[in-house]
């Protein structure tokens, strides 16, 4: 498993492959787990936080035109494959969520940088908002395999939108919040995350933009000497995936940075919201 944490190489290893749908499983709400075949070279050098650009149309159609980025939810060695968590939302994801085993998909990746577990970090806090849970599941797997302690906080609109606890592997403390109070804390996940900030060596978050804005307040309130560090995965509309079009930039203290190569994972303190 250690291999999954090797230093990320981005464009040099990225490539396109034709993949086959292996399984479609229903999970949280209307989202599905889509498992697709992938070359072993791709699966072996993958890091948590990376993503793939998936064509969401049938051959011969050019609408929708652009590929959609999906974070890796889990990677498997036998058979060599990847699982994505896809929530049918607009037309691309709805098409993708409608695929059935045996169908072919065009996939490009892995793309982007990845979450980093600092050498001395032992206690990892993860904060997931909705479908943003995907890359944190892979990260949690890696952390557990390394023997690290994980607290996994997830928020969703209602109980159906929460990741089932059975999907998290190993000894992970799973804490949930729902907007309607149908399970766990009645309210936002950011309201309970403060309880763990002092405990954690490192925080990881993936969710919608409003969640990050609230997290900023939480972080400012709870962090005294800028520790623990926070790594977030940012979602931007993308075109190329290789830093060429500059359509996916994130405003940071260092300027406008392409989130497809120097993201999607950013140091929270660097990002200007």
């Amino acid at each position: 498993m250690r291999r999954q944490l090797a230093q990320v190489e981005t464009t040099g290893t990225s490539r396109e492959f034709e993949s086959q749908v292996l399984a479609v499983d229903h999970t949280m709400g209307d989202a599905i787990l889509l498992t697709v075949s992938a070359p072993t070279t791709v699966v072996q050098r993958l890091n948590s936080g990376q993503f793939f650009n998936v064509s969401c149309r049938f051959p011969g159609s050019f609408d929708p035109l652009l590929r959609r980025p999906y974070s890796v939810y889990r990677a498997h060695q036998q058979p060599s494959s990847l699982t994505f968590l896809v929530r049918p939302f607009g037309r691309g994801s709805a098409w993708l969520a409608g695929r059935t085993p045996g169908e072919r998909l065009e996939i490009l990746g892995p793309l982007g940088n990845s979450f980093v577990i600092p050498p001395r970090a032992q206690r990892l806090l993860m904060l997931a908002g909705g479908v943003g849970v995907a890359p944190l599941v892979m990260l949690s797997d890696v952390a557990v395999a390394r023997g690290l302690d994980v607290v996994f906080v997830m928020g969703a609109a209602d109980a159906a939108g929460l990741l089932p606890a059975s999907e998290l592997r190993g000894p992970v403390e799973y804490v949930v919040a729902t907007d309607d109070g149908s399970r766990g804390h009645h309210g936002l996940a950011t309201e309970i995350v403060g309880d763990y900030v002092h405990w954690a060596d490192q925080i990881y978050a993936c969710g919608p933009e409003p969640m990050y804005r609230t997290l900023r307040t939480v972080a400012d309130t709870h962090r005294i000497n800028k520790k623990p560090g926070v790594q977030i995965s940012v979602e931007r509309g993308m075109a190329c995936g290789f830093g060429a079009c500059l359509g996916c930039v994130v405003e940071t203290r260092r300027g406008m940075i392409a989130s497809c190569v120097d993201g999607p994972v950013f140091d929270f303190d660097e990002v200007v919201f």
Partner: protein, 334 residues
């Protein structure tokens, strides 16, 4: 540089500046379009960029630009809108890095320049003239002319010619003038820039478009408007290439929505001596390289010994230099 075709027997080479002693010889007619290929290095680890006929850099401006606020891209039916805002290091930042890097590459590198004043175009061209590693300059005239109240250079034949003349005056590098599809009378613009010293013409740049976010009740792009590219604009691009190719005698480089060999052939048969691929690279990075091999095979199958033989084959007036007949037919009968 001699023509190398990796598969097949047909000669794919094409010279885009036949009247310029410095020439602009491409091994094959497939180029990467400006703004869609960064500075080449972004794709260096992804595809074999050295096999491309040429590539065009992101648009360079007199000063460095941070670009527009986000969102900068929105998908549209069979296309996309972009408003990147010319994020680039500026001509001074540019020359520090890329000419030397490109000088070590086999693929011809073309610099795309954008400015809001004639003098600025000339200033950049003069700087580029002295640099190594640059095969040609592509002038993007789809920019507002500050001295004319922001009226776009490319909509007007005389303004486009003025920029071309100014650039021609300061460099012997091959010059490609990239036309704006916003021009009502694209043929007049093409004729004017040819007369002003352009070695070749490329077209089309994006069409100005917009999308509204109904939920938030405001334009989707932070910049409000953006440029439409991709398959959606292909029929407009093919038409303009067809018209321009029959009106000028210099090579024409076509682009707009190319996603397959059939698309590229539409442009070649309409009169394009080369094509650029932009949005198609986003969707399918391997596309331009694959097209080289596909074209080579197609020429063999169809019995052509050289790519040049197919240029303009579907264009009855190709390089006839008589724009008026066609212009009349176009406007009638719709």
């Amino acid at each position: 540089m001699t023509a190398v075709t990796s598969h097949g027997t047909a000669d794919l080479a094409v010279d885009l500046a036949p009247h310029n002693p410095r020439e602009l010889l491409l091994r094959n007619p497939f180029m990467a379009a400006s703004g869609c290929f960064g500075y080449g290095e972004e794709y260096a680890g992804v595809i074999d960029i050295q096999r491309l006929g040429a590539f065009v850099s992101k648009g360079i401006t007199p000063e460095r630009r941070a670009g527009n606020a986000m969102p900068r891209i929105v998908e549209t039916p069979a296309g996309m809108l972009n408003a990147i805002g010319l994020q680039n290091p500026g001509i001074h930042g540019f020359v520090k890095k890329y000419p030397t890097l490109w000088d070590s590459w086999a693929v011809p590198a073309i610099v795309n320049i954008s400015a809001e004043a004639v003098d600025d175009y000339a200033m950049m061209a003069a700087m580029l003239d002295e640099q190594p590693g640059i095969a040609a300059i592509e002038i993007n005239v789809s920019c507002p002319n500050i001295s004319r109240g922001g009226y776009c250079f490319g909509w007007d034949a005389e303004m486009s010619a003025e920029v071309t003349r100014a650039v021609r005056g300061v460099t012997t590098l091959p010059i490609i003038v990239k036309l704006s599809p916003g021009a009502s009378d694209i043929v007049s613009v093409a004729i004017a820039v040819e007369a002003a010293g352009a070695d070749a013409i490329s077209l089309i740049n994006t069409l100005v478009g917009m999308a509204i976010d109904v939920r938030r009740r405001r334009p989707l792009l932070a910049n409000e408007t953006g440029g439409v590219s991709g398959p959606a604009i292909k029929p407009i691009a093919v038409r303009m290439v067809y018209q321009v190719a029959s009106a000028v005698r210099i090579p024409v480089v076509g682009m707009g929505g190319i996603m397959s060999l059939n698309d590229a052939l539409e442009f070649f048969l309409a009169g394009a001596s080369a094509v650029q691929i932009g949005t198609g690279i986003f969707v399918d990075p391997g596309l331009p390289i694959r097209l080289i091999d596909e074209l080579s095979q197609w020429l063999d199958e169809e019995g052509f010994s050289s790519f040049n033989q197919i240029v303009g084959l579907a264009n009855v007036g190709f390089r006839s230099g008589d724009p008026h007949l066609f212009r009349f037919r176009e406007a009638s009968g719709l």
